[in-house]
Amino acid sequence: MTNSGPSTDRPLSVSLVGSAARRRRERLVKVLFLSAALVSVVISALIVVSLIGGAVDFVSKIIPAQLLEDGWYPRRDEFGLLTLLAGSLLVTGIALLLAVPIGLMSALFLAEYAGPRTRGMVKPVLEILAGVPSVVLGFFALTWISPEVVQLIDPSASDFNLMAAGLGVGILTIPLVASISEDAMRAVPASLREASYGLGARRITTSLRVVVPAALSGIVAAVILGISRAIGETMVVAVAAGGSGGSQFTIDPFEQGQTITAAMASLAAGTDQVAGSNVAYQSLFFLGLLLFIMTFALNQLGDVFVRRTRQQY
């Protein structure tokens, strides 16, 4: 390499690297940000460790027959798991019966029918609904849905009942189902719609025969993530389904009952002395682990479908 002129005879490499202080600061900032990112990894590890630790303690202290009792009464050492599973299944099922049709139809309206102005007015309603604290919805389920809706269907229904809780959870799930499936429908390329209109199809035909099938993976994802949300919902059930202190096995939605989550809230809320080393306390972690595994599996499955929509277009 020869110098092309007198003006560049100073070697450039020195000035491009920058001062040592500047490089040190760069490294420091990077390390700081990396450690912030690692906090989330530590949190995950702590969640898994504390859940498994408590759950193992619990399982080692009980005999399997206790898990098959006919009810969930932790303070009487009756841990009838089926009671809670049936409750969770029932509440989730009722929630989906409300949230899936309403959520999907709202999404289709927002994606295919609403103009930008209508969208701008209507979308915030769903967002505000999503922002209502779940304990508030629990109160609403107990004081309005139960007497005005559930007891209208079945006058002999208990004031606290799984049906009202399920509908309350459903209301909370509507915005999630709507938002994920709307995203999927909007991701369908305009060219598909144009082709459909070009063939003379009406909007209803285009919506149902072109957009919905093309967005199917995203719609499936919305339903799966909706299930996961509904299973994990705690306060609506804790307030509206009754069964504090325990519950008998039931599959009647008009009766009191408990879900996995509500059982956890009720265990923690029942007395301040639950934080100890007794079996009832450790059953909290067993239920937490169960819930964690169920929602984790559902979220993974949902993600697979979300990714499939992204890859398609």
């Binding site: 600061r25 940000f33 604290p133 909007r203 994990g232 307030v239 504090s244």
Partner: protein, 305 residues
């Protein structure tokens, strides 16, 4: 040319009669959307009609009185204080850590196994039910770190909520940072700025409104959470904060608005129903206000960006 001898008039292409099926479908979809609106309206009307008389009758006394087992004297002062303190904890713990994580993931991280692992991990954390975070708080902040946090204390609850909303802060901030045009960064590097300088001087100012929206949303989520705090030791029922110093209260017993609401909602006396509704009005004003601010910010930001 006999094949197209028939005139291709407009009318032969147009459907005859009204499209009843299409109109009905349109109506059904709109109806589904109105269900949500109707629910929201009914909820607010129900709560306000029950709670407003209490607020009107008790006035500021309701806001300044401590919890009590006697409905006529119970108030939400401790709940409001606890909820505000939760907001402070979220702001000083979750916001910096979350935003720094987002900056690392978007600006610094190479596309390698560690990055992908952290990314998947954050997405998974966002899907963990809030009640499970309560167990984390109970096992780690209340029991394992008892000597630092003072057990079932306000600090333990605040950190639990901060951890709970951390994934939301990270994900929304990362989205805002990702939306900053590449050209801006390249221009910065082109004039010799270092990565931190580009991030600090160009990317963060540009992404700030989006980051702000995400943090406000996370905050409003934290303010409405109940289940994790019940597990992590918030007090249900009455307790006295009397003349305690501020620092003592940080390490002491606490409650928040949503926890107070849960406590009152499950009491059998009819008077507590009205009281619960009044407390809900206070909570809704706080959280919906935070949400509305976030939505407004976002709309404004989307229009600009």
């Amino acid at each position: 040319m006999t094949a197209i001898s028939r005139p291709l008039s407009d009318t032969s292409l147009r459907r005859t009669g009204a499209d009843w099926k299409g109109l009905a479908f349109h109506g059904v979809l709109l109806g589904a959307l109105l269900v949500s609106l109707l629910i929201l309206f009914t909820l607010i009307a129900d709560v306000v009609s029950r709670g407003l008389p209490v607020l009107a009758e008790r006035g500021t006394d309701f806001l300044t009185a401590p919890t009590s087992s006697r409905p006529a004297r119970a108030g939400v002062a401790q709940g409001i204080f606890g909820t505000l303190m939760m907001a402070v904890f979220v702001a000083i713990v979750a916001f910096p850590v979350g935003i720094m994580t987002a900056i690392y993931m978007e600006e610094y991280a190479a596309d390698n196994r560690l990055t992908r692992f952290i990314n998947v991990n954050i997405r998974n954390l966002a899907g963990v039910p809030s009640v499970v975070y309560g167990l984390l708080g109970l096992a780690i902040f209340v029991i394992a770190l008892k000597d630092v946090t003072g057990g079932r204390s306000m600090i333990a609850g605040g950190v639990t909520l901060a951890v709970l909303v951390l994934p939301i802060v990270i994900i929304t901030s990362a989205e805002a940072i990702r939306a900053v045009p590449r050209g801006l960064r390249e221009a910065g590097f082109g004039i010799g700025a270092s990565r931190w300088e580009v991030t600090r001087l160009l990317v963060i100012p540009q992404a700030a409104p989006g980051i702000l929206t995400g943090t406000v949303l996370a905050l409003s989520r934290a303010l409405g959470e109940t289940a994790p705090l019940i597990l992590a030791g918030a007090v249900l029922g009455g307790f006295s904060t009397g003349s305690k110093e501020f620092v003592e209260q940080l390490f002491g017993r606490y409650t928040t608005l949503p926890v107070t609401i849960f406590d009152w909602a499950r009491r059998p006396q009819a008077d507590f129903r009205e009281l619960t509704a009044a407390a809900i009005i206070v909570l809704l004003v706080v959280t919906l206000l935070a949400n509305a601010i976030a939505i407004l910010l976002r709309n404004r930001y989307e229009r600009v960006g």
